[in-house]
Symmetry: C2
């Protein structure tokens, strides 16, 4: 049993339409509010070596990334912290506060709990004008498949490449980029936190077309031998880059560095060099 199978259980109860995007979409005056929640905790997410400040930073960053992927501006964060040692609270809160401040959001609420394991749940709220909202559905055959930054670096740290510590420990959500891409007219967008392959399968689930990538176009983390670097780029989790689809005539978008890695195809399938990649990446598993 993995995350995506469990999501089907949830869909059966709360409705499929409430499980399709990185954020919920709520009316808010003339604008749209997007809302998202993320649970992180010691065992799964906060690796050894991270300090309290980085734990707080990461907890805020992952939620701001979901907001960015809708083309929205992050505005508010609520943060629930379950602590085994209360001494960690100040560092965690300062890290979350600094991350919010950098990206234009404010911490407006929270909860503190005595917990057996350090657990942080952040809920982010963002705003976007309705016409600039980007969802996971909307890709059209012929659109370019693109990604910001270099995927695979966070996972590379987990596999021993310590030069990528900052990427994993202090993720930088693509907040400004998300809004610029939305205004430029991208047709779908999400972050690649579970890896490119799983992200494309997620997009496949909500679009009536498919995605064909060329492995030689995907940027690889530097200083890592092949085929490991390519493997990391395609399947590595823990990055917070934006994957998006873009009508060809809108390429290139000025002011946002990104790489074209493939094309939207009429066939409802995911292909890398013409072959379906494994449906794997960052997932939780239950036995």
């Amino acid at each position: 049993m993995d995350d995506r199978e469990l999501l089907k259980v949830v869909m059966g109860i709360v409705g499929r339409e409430n499980c399709m995007d990185d954020c919920a979409i709520l009316p808010c005056g003339d604008q749209v509010m997007v809302a998202t929640t993320d649970m992180l905790h010691r065992t799964t997410d906060f690796v050894d070596g991270m300090n309290d400040w980085q734990i707080g930073w990461m907890s805020a960053a992952v939620t701001l990334s979901d907001i960015a992927s809708m083309g929205a501006a992050p505005k508010y964060l609520l943060i629930a912290v379950g602590l085994d040692r209360w001494e960690q609270l100040a560092g965690v809160m300062q890290g979350a506060q600094d991350c919010c401040k950098k990206y234009g959001a404010a911490i407006v609420g929270g909860d503190i709990d005595h917990h057996g394991e350090l657990t942080v749940v952040t809920t982010g709220l963002g705003l976007v004008d309705k016409q600039f909202l980007v969802q996971r559905s909307g890709a059209r055959p012929g659109d370019l498949v693109c990604i910001t930054g270099i995927p695979g670096q966070a996972q590379a740290w987990l596999e021993g490449y310590r030069q990528y510590e900052k990427v994993l420990f202090e993720p930088q959500p693509r907040v400004a980029e998300g809004q610029m891409l939305a205004r430029a007219g991208v047709t779908t967008m999400m972050d690649d936190s579970d890896g490119i392959a799983l992200s494309l399968y997620d997009l496949l689930g909500v679009n009536e077309c498919g995605f064909s990538l060329s492995s030689d176009k995907i940027p690889h983390p530097a200083g890592i031998p092949e085929p490991q670097a390519g493997e990391l780029a395609l399947y590595g989790g823990g990055d917070y880059e934006l994957i998006f689809t873009l009508p060809k005539e809108l390429h290139p978008i000025k002011g946002v560095p990104y790489t074209v890695i493939g094309e939207v195809i009429p066939d409802k399938t995911v292909l890398v060099d013409g072959v379906a990649p494994a449906r794997r990446g960052y997932q939780h598993h239950w036995t």
Copy 2:
């Protein structure tokens, strides 16, 4: 170190103004959006004997109660579930969904995590017209201190009075009552989830006046000998009644059952029968 001491640490980082009410207050078109988050988990909150459906129900209810205490209508819930056993997910989600449905809210987002201990974090969003928003500050000397329902029943279960199981396991947030009280003109409001005594000390912290109760006016849970029943009523946690202050000339408010238990006084102090009650109730403690 307890919750309220840790809250001071948080205030130092995110600002006191973001820690004063049950909910954050956010502009949303012509209305005000209130937002709140609560973390519950097996060890502290889900007592033995609760089934998965009740765990989900309680997780939603505590958050809807915070929204009710602002006079707002609950609209949206996000729910993050950390699971040790995936088999619990459907029950938890169904309980949360049923609670939301009863009180007019919808589950619009969430997260699923593999966790060592069952942990549920709910974030609620509600809407209220600006003129009907009620906060913790606003009490004026001469106002009546009032409470809905009968306090102490949830704690009574924990002390062996099994007839109160439903009160503890399936709390019924005062959602309709909160909105009616707000429209009727109450000056402050909060829920009594940490007990009456602690709630009044919380109100004391944000008002320039005090609160004087008469113990013989406080309703006591039935079937429990004194002085235990009075002790439960004053200090017991786990209830979700509304405590509020009301200008005398507005009493009685029609359609909402409540009891007048005291009066707002000019002195900045909390008194029960003329004596300051202990500053205790439901709190987490760290060593």
